[in-house]
């Protein structure tokens, strides 16, 4: 019975370590994807603002990229309910998955730029944010390449090691 409990505990420890590694790796991948989709969505936003007379809530509602659409849609709804663009977008940032480090600050300054009164100001804000997000995405890609596999394998190895020690 005692042996079975030990074995069960070791198995549980192994699975936990493996899951933590997997989670860490997934988070890096999620950040990479979110930043990539944000970059693409900003291109779409730029086209909408530049080529037509759609309003910001309308342009936000047209963004369909999987991991960012909820945040943009929520910001659009808040604007329609009478919130200003900056506070509507800032309050929707937590809906973007996997963000880390400087990401949030870049998006907050993007939100502030949404108050620009002319088209040129809006386009400048989008272009600047795109540039900054592009740099962050390159950093996230690099980190995922470097650390993604390491977290997965590290989780497995750490799990085996702890299980052996405990067993």
């Amino acid at each position: 019975m005692r042996g079975f409990i030990k074995l069960f505990g070791a198995g549980l420890t192994f699975v936990s370590c493996f899951m933590i590694g997997l989670y860490k790796s997934h988070k890096l991948n999620e950040r990479r994807k979110t930043l990539m989709e944000l970059e693409n969505s900003l291109s779409l936003l730029e086209t909408e603002i530049e080529s037509s007379i759609v309003t910001l809530p309308q342009a936000f509602s047209r963004i369909k990229a999987k991991s960012v659409k909820e945040a943009f849609l929520s910001a659009a709804k808040k604007m329609q309910q009478g919130k200003r663009a900056d506070s509507a977008f800032i309050s929707s940032i937590p809906m973007l998955p996997g963000l880390a480090g400087e990401d949030e600050n870049v998006l907050i300054s993007f939100a502030r730029g949404l108050l620009s009164i002319d088209k040129e100001g809006q386009i400048r804000n989008i272009k600047l944010t795109q540039k900054r997000i592009s740099a962050l995405r390159a950093e996230a890609e690099e980190e995922y390449k470097r650390m993604g596999k390491l977290y997965k394998q590290g989780g497995v190895l750490a799990g085996i090691m702890v299980a052996i020690i405990l067993y």
Binding site: V54, T55, L56, P57, Q80, R84
Partner: protein, 310 residues
Amino acid sequence: MVVTSNSLNERPITKYLYGELREVMEKIDKSIFKELVEIRFGIDKPLCLFFQNSLVFITKNGEFTDDYKSAFYTTKEMVEGSLQLMCENSIYAMSEKLKSGFLTLPGGHRAGICAHTVCEGGKIVSIRDISAISIRIAHQCIGFAEKIIDEITDGKHIKNTLVISPPRCGKTTLLRDIARLLGGGKFLFKTAIVDERSEIAAMYKGKAYNDVGFLTVVMDNCPKAEGILMLLRSMTPDVIITDEIGGDDDVYAIRNLINAGVKIICSCHGYDEEDASRRGRLGELIKQRIFEKIIILSAREGVGTIERVY
């Protein structure tokens, strides 16, 4: 006659006010909106409300006061934030409208803007530094035209009609109710409106917030002369209704309209026929008896007093 304020319960005007300004306005009793004519605020200026014959200031607690010193003063942030909300956070998309000095809000309310204008070659290219906003509340007087409608039509034919009145005597209100009656309210004429300043039908994103009749079509935010000719070509109307004619282009368009057998009902500034006749080309139209009916309005016994119909 029933006076209604458009959709104020459905879409409160306070939704377009920012920050503390909205909080103050929300403290005010909603029922006053029925009588309210205008809300005015600006940078470091007292918040004031205009009624038909009076002006009141609003305190921080939403109470009325006659003393402007104890009124709630609005800030730059509140004025700019309110403009952002009125433009759906998209001032860049409304720049053309802003250049004309006003915006139409849902419900037909009009926000007039005061700002620093940037000009090139004598034309306004953009505006910045918004300093004050005045929101005029849209009202509709259902039934205002009931007493004169039989003078304009017998149900089969419509007479070319000119409404002459000084400013703020009910010209637009009368035209709106005539459109409602002709376009389905009492008769079934194909009625069309050229609404240069979105005042008659209060269109917002393709929807008319004033009742102008279910058969009535509206060419919104369009110069009168061009709108008349466009409607003539595209909608085969029985009658076209438009406000405040006077320019040479307007008169040219009306002549084309008459030649095509379409009727016109319009208004112009003036105290009587003689006064209106002095207005260049429009005077020629009047003297040539193009208009079969003339309605004179005044404010002698309150706004919308019908002085004469002949």
